[in-house]
Every structure is written in structure tokens, then in C-alpha cells.
Amino acid sequence: MTALDLLALPDVGEEFSFSDEHELTRASARRFLAERCPTSEVRRLMDDPVGHDASTWRSMAELGWLGTTVPQPLGGAALDPLHLALLFEEQGRALLPSPFLACQLALSALELAATPEQAARWIPPILSGEQIATLAFEEPSGASRGAADTRAVPARGGWVLVGVRPHVLGAASAGLVIVPATEPDGGVGLFAVELPHPCVLVEAERSVDTTRRAARLVLEGASVPAAARLERSSRAVVERVEARGRTLLAAEMAGGIAAVLERTRAYACEREQFGRPIGAFQAVKHPIVDTMVSAELARSLALGAAVAWSREPARHDTLSRMAKAYASDAFAVAVRRGVQLHGGYGFTWDCDIQLWFKRAVASRALLGDALHHRRWLAAALGGA
């Protein structure tokens, strides 16, 4: 392949495949979140034992958010992934505390790897909002990505799972966790583990970002029945699930950058020093412009990845890595500038920038950080 073919952009279609229905999705999500999730609500939920609001979650289920891309026979709306990415962008902007990402990861795994019977058993209660589900996708720190550490051993007509999975989103309130584990033949199986389980310890993590809860799962020889193994599991499925997760997380982070931009912009117009708004100083103005530029680029990559997800699947993996890598770094820079340009106030608990700052820290390496993905991209070009 010539360098040029390899580098070619995905075809995103006329008008970026963006229709009036997409605009409807985006605008109604914006309205819903403005009403249900102002920052006062975010702050309230930071101290909440569960970490999300049950009635908001029910409304999200009723609005059909949870099953946006799920096929219709399974009870979903079968919309294209751009709809879902727009929802993620909006909830990232609002910093909605919820297990939305956790559930989408679990749903992707079920959709791609479950048999119809397995799907019929586990998907409907997730879509109705009754059951929170998650995916244990992170490895213990230092391990390479991809089910290295947790093992699945066949036993007594079923399986026994052994291992530790950190940073499992929403796990403390989840009734179902999908665990990728290495099987004796070296392949990867996805196992649906119902919680609570006597041999699965769920240790809530005390995250810097209390707007998104996570837990550490310790699987101490947890037995599961044979039917818990999602039958069409494979390494390729795990990679596709991760690509989807990266796309959604990148969209969420792009929304976060936009929120930080908006707040920083507004403060620079309102705060006066030396007899003029600080935004008149180029040392303030230009970094805000750079944040805007990065917000736009992050958005293009995330939405582009969402379009590629269904329209150009062969390029989705690459695009999702680009989107996540770019968003990880750009969000980090945006919140850094955001705090700095708010001055002493920016350093306080009261100033809302800190909320996105912490989200940026906690999300930066989830599903792979920028270094990880750039290394993959460089290898795709034939490099180190």
C-alpha cells in the first residue's frame, strides 16, 4: 500500500452524513441535560452514594438513549452511531454523572458476541434502565492492553474466572459485568458475570473524578455457568468494542473541551483587570482561540469516527484511535488553560472548571492514552 492510500481519509458522505434527525437528537439532548443536569446537580451527585440520579437515568431509558444503536429485534432504535456520538458529546458537555458509557460498552459486547438467547436475556433489562451493565476493559496498571491478566479456566461444566480488573465504570451499581478473559487456548472470551457474586469483590475506587464512579473487581475464582460465555467472543470483537468505546469517549471529551472553552471565554469577557476585560489581552485571547481550535478538531475526529463506525468500518479502528488520542491531549490542555485563565478563582473548589479538570485527568488514559494510540498508528505506517 502506498503511503497515500494508507493515510486516506474516510468518506464521511455529503454534509458529514448529518441530517435533520441528527440535529433533533442533538438539540433535544441539549435541552434535556440543561434541565436535568445543571452543574448544581453535578455537584449534588458528587456527594451521592450511588453517583447518579435514578430518575434521570430512567428518563434516559424512556427517551431511548440507551438503545440508540442497538438493533430493533433486541429492542433498540437501530439508529446510526452518529446519533449516539452526539448524545455523548452533549453529556460530556454537561458532565452528566451516569453509567451511560459503562452500559454502552456492555451493550456493544453483547451485540457483537452474544447468541440471540444470550442477547434476549441480558439486553432488554439494560435498555429499560432496570439493569446497569458494564465492561471490565482496563488491565491492571503496567499490563499491555487486551485481556492479559484475567484468566478463564473450564471447570465443572462452566468456567472459573481469576484476576483483577481496575477502573470498571459503574461497577458498584451494576448487576452485570462483561469480563474479557484469556482462555487456555490463548483466545479471549467475554464472560457475562451477574452481580453480586460471592467470589467477585467489588471495591469502589475513590476517584479524583467523583462524577464518574468506578470500582476494582477482584475475581477470586468466580464460577460462572457455560452459558455465561458470550458465544461469538474473539479478540477481534474485543477490539471492535474498544473502538466503539473510544469513539464515544472521544465525543464525550470533545463535549468537555467545548464546555471548558465556553466557561473560559465567558470569564475572559467578564473579569476586568487594568481597566478592561482580560480577554482583550492577547496572552489570554490567543490561548482561548487555541482551545477553540482544538475543540473543533476534536469534534471533527470524534464525529468522523462515529460516521466511519457504520459507513467505513475498515477505517473505524484507526479513526477511533486518532479521536481518542487527540481528545485526551486536547482536553488536558484545555482544562490546564481553563484553570490558569480563571486566576485564583480557577484554583478554588467553587469554580466549575475543576469538575472538567478532574474528568480530563480520569478519562485521559481510559481505553488507551494518546501515547498508546500514537504508537499503534506509527506501527501502522511501518514505524516503531
Binding site: L7, F16, P277, A325
Partner: protein, 402 residues
């Protein structure tokens, strides 16, 4: 609008024609872009290419037929540009005419101006230059001092000093900004002229670039006559019209976004090839993880810029800040290009210092020359700093500095 099949057939014809007609490189050194054309032999060679492309029917897809174009067809224009990039065809020497002056004349010109100016512009028979900047009016363009004084017979007399005027030494025409009403405020006093460069009283003096190349000039006007019909639009409308030209110049016009993405990707592709081909510490440069990481970062940004250009075509996706993407286009593309060009010179190691006349200079010294020339794009057409001011104030509504 072409049908998809028709468009693909058109693409196939264009590809075949280009394969047969893209000229082999001449024995003399070619300039890298339209900004650096200094010698007559370069000009004639490049002009010949533009003529052949035009005569074969592949140029003029944004100009109606009555003005010498092929009828407005964005899709065909995009296809041609993509195929030109693919075929590594030479650039079009009348770039300022095709991309800046032409579209402005099409927007503001009288019927007679359009009929007179556009056909030879498209064919490259008449080159255009842009006389905006002056020694004391660069970023602060509106403070320009060149005067155009209307005579009793309706003609004008121009006196003043323009600088950095690309290709003025070969141009037949200049899009010229001059002050017609010194009493009016800084913006309202400016008018826009289609000025004939063969007028008496015009002196063109070449300036040397940091690369040692020519390509731009200073132009002195000493009571130079300009005909009555050289005024574009109304007297005093010059600033508005100039802003339109700058919109085209900064790539902020939505029409050509997709094809520019193809050009960026082609540049990146060449650097990736360079990184595969050049060795460092006994291995291909691309195997160096630090360099590979930087190339990957530039790849990500290239995709982000390309997708953003595609996104400009979806107005509903940009409703909140409709001018964000168009106005940031030149800023991000030119800065990206500069970092890419700089990285290319780093890939070369110490050989980056070998200059054009050294037989061992990699690729004839073009990478180092390209890095230097990349500053043309971060300075010309509004500097990156000025664009950040414009975006900050016009898009984000931040207060103006004093």
C-alpha cells in the same frame, strides 16, 4: 451537479489525460509554489502547463461559460484537483488570478469586467498579482496610504508604494487597494482597482527571499494612470471587497475545502515516504520511536483538519459557530504544514544543511527550502497572530485589544 457515474467517467478521463500530459520536470529548477516564481523560463514552462490544462477542458469549473469557464461544477473541480495531486502535476502559476482575483471579480465585477478579465485569467495568458500590503501597512492593512485620485475624465492617477507583491514582475494586472478619499475614515476611504501593470509610472523591483529566491517585489506608482473602468465595485467599497478576497485567500470559502485536504495528505505521504527511506542510526528513520510518535501526531492532526474541512459542508453541524471552521482553516493548515516541513528537515539529520547547489543535498535541498518557504503561508494572507485576533474577536466575541 454531475451524476455519480458521469463523475467517475470524468475522473477516469482526467486521470488518463494527466498520465499522458503531465510534463517531465525541466532541466532547470522549478519553484515549489506560485509564491517563488522568479525566472522567465520557469514562468513560461508553468504557464504552458496551465494553458494545456485549460485547453483540455479541466480548468474553470467555478466560472460560467460566458466568461471562459466550464460552468460551475464543484464536484468536477474537486475531482480535477484530486487527480492533479495524485498525478503530482505542476502547480498553476496564475494562482492569485484563479483563486483570489477571479472569484472576487466574479462576485463584484460588471458584465464587461467579467468578460474582459476572466478568459485570459483562466488560461494563464494574463497573470494577476495582489497589491494590498505596503511598507507601513501590513497586518494593519486598512492604514494603507497609496492614493488614487480621480481625474476630470473619470480615470484615476495612482501614487504610492506596495510591497511583498508576489509575481508582480510577470503580472498583466493587479488587484490594487488605494485610498480615494483621505478625508473619510480609514475603511471607507479605500477603493479596489483592477489595475493594468503596463501603465506608465509603475516600477517593479524584485525582492530576495531568505531562500535566495525571488518571486515577490516592491511596486512603486508615480502618478500612474488607471482607466475609469478599472474600479471594481463602487468607490469606497474597497475594504468590503478586500475582505471577500481575503476570505478566498484564507481558504475560508467552503467550496474548495475537500480538495485542500487531499493536498495536505499528499504532503504527509511524502514525509512518511521520506521517513521510510532515510536512515538514522543504521535503521529507517520511521523506526525511531520518537520520530514515529511525531509523525503519528501530525497524521492525527491532518485527519482532524481534513475532517473539519468536510464538516464545513454540513452547516447544521456548525450552527453554533458558523465561522469557526472557515476562519481557522488557514491558521491550522499553515501551522501544521510548517511543523511537518520542519520535521522533514530533522529526518534528514545533518544533511538538512546541504543546500540547493550541493549535489549531495537530499532531494535537491527541497526539504530545507520547503521549510523556509512554509513561512510564506504563516505570514502571508494575514499572519497566524492576526488570525488568532480575528477568531478571538469575531468568532468568540472576546473584546478587542486597544
Amino acid at each position: 451537479m454531475s451524476q455519480p457515474d458521469e463523475l467517475e467517467a470524468f475522473r477516469a478521463r482526467a486521470r488518463e489525460w494527466l498520465l499522458a500530459n503531465v510534463p517531465a520536470r525541466p532541466s532547470f529548477k522549478l519553484p515549489q509554489t506560485f509564491l517563488e516564481v522568479e525566472a522567465r523560463e520557469q514562468l513560461e514552462w508553468l504557464r504552458d502547463w496551465q494553458r494545456r490544462l485549460y485547453d483540455a477542458g479541466y480548468l474553470g469549473f467555478d466560472v460560467p461559460e460566458e466568461y471562459g469557464g466550464r460552468g460551475v461544477d464543484r464536484e468536477r473541480r474537486r475531482v480535477v484537483t484530486e487527480e492533479l495531486v495524485r498525478a503530482r502535476a505542476p502547480f498553476l502559476v496564475n494562482f492569485i488570478g484563479l483563486e483570489w482575483a477571479g472569484p472576487t471579480i466574479l462576485t463584484f465585477g460588471t458584465e464587461a469586467q467579467k468578460r474582459r478579465m476572466l478568459p485570459p485569467l483562466l488560461r494563464g495568458d494574463e497573470l494577476w498579482c495582489q497589491g494590498f500590503s505596503e511598507p507601513a501597512a501590513g497586518s494593519d492593512l486598512a492604514s494603507l496610504q497609496t492614493r488614487a485620485v480621480r481625474q476630470a475624465d473619470g480615470t484615476y492617477r495612482v501614487t504610492g508604494h506596495k510591497v511583498w507583491t508576489t509575481v508582480a514582475h510577470f503580472a498583466s494586472w493587479m488587484i490594487l487597494l488605494a485610498r480615494t478619499d483621505p478625508a473619510a475614515n480609514k475603511y471607507a476611504g479605500i477603493s479596489y482597482f483592477l489595475f493594468p501593470m503596463d501603465a506608465t509610472g509603475v516600477t517593479v523591483e524584485p525582492l530576495l527571499k531568505m531562500t535566495g529566491e525571488g518571486g515577490f517585489n516592491q511596486v512603486l506608482f508615480d502618478d500612474a494612470p488607471s482607466p475609469a473602468d478599472s474600479l471594481l465595485g463602487e468607490e469606497g467599497q474597497g475594504w468590503t471587497i478586500a475582505m471577500t478576497t481575503l476570505t478566498f485567500e484564507r481558504g475560508a470559502a467552503e467550496t474548495h475545502a475537500r480538495e485542500r485536504a487531499a493536498a495536505l495528505l499528499a504532503q504527509l505521504g511524502r514525509v512518511v515516504e521520506l521517513a521510510r527511506e532515510r536512515e538514522r542510526e543504521g535503521a529507517p528513520a520511521l523506526a525511531d520511536p520518537v520520530l514515529a510518535d511525531r509523525i503519528a501526531q501530525l497524521w492525527i492532526e491532518c485527519a482532524a483538519i481534513g475532517l473539519s474541512m468536510a464538516r464545513t459542508r454540513a452547516p447544521a453541524l456548525n450552527a453554533e459557530r458558523p465561522f469557526a471552521l472557515p476562519l481557522m482553516n488557514k491558521l491550522v493548515s499553515s501551522e501544521w504544514n510548517q511543523r511537518l516541513a520542519e520535521l522533514a528537515t530533522e529526518l534528514l539529520g545533518a544533511d538538512a544543511a546541504l543546500w540547493l547547489d550541493d549535489p549531495r543535498a537530499p532531494h535537491g535541498g527541497d526539504w530545507t527550502r520547503g521549510y523556509m518557504n512554509s513561512f510564506g503561508m504563516t505570514i502571508g494572507g494575514g499572519t497566524s497572530e492576526i488570525l488568532r485576533n480575528v477568531i478571538g474577536e469575531r468568532v468568540l466575541g472576546l473584546p478587542k485589544g486597544k
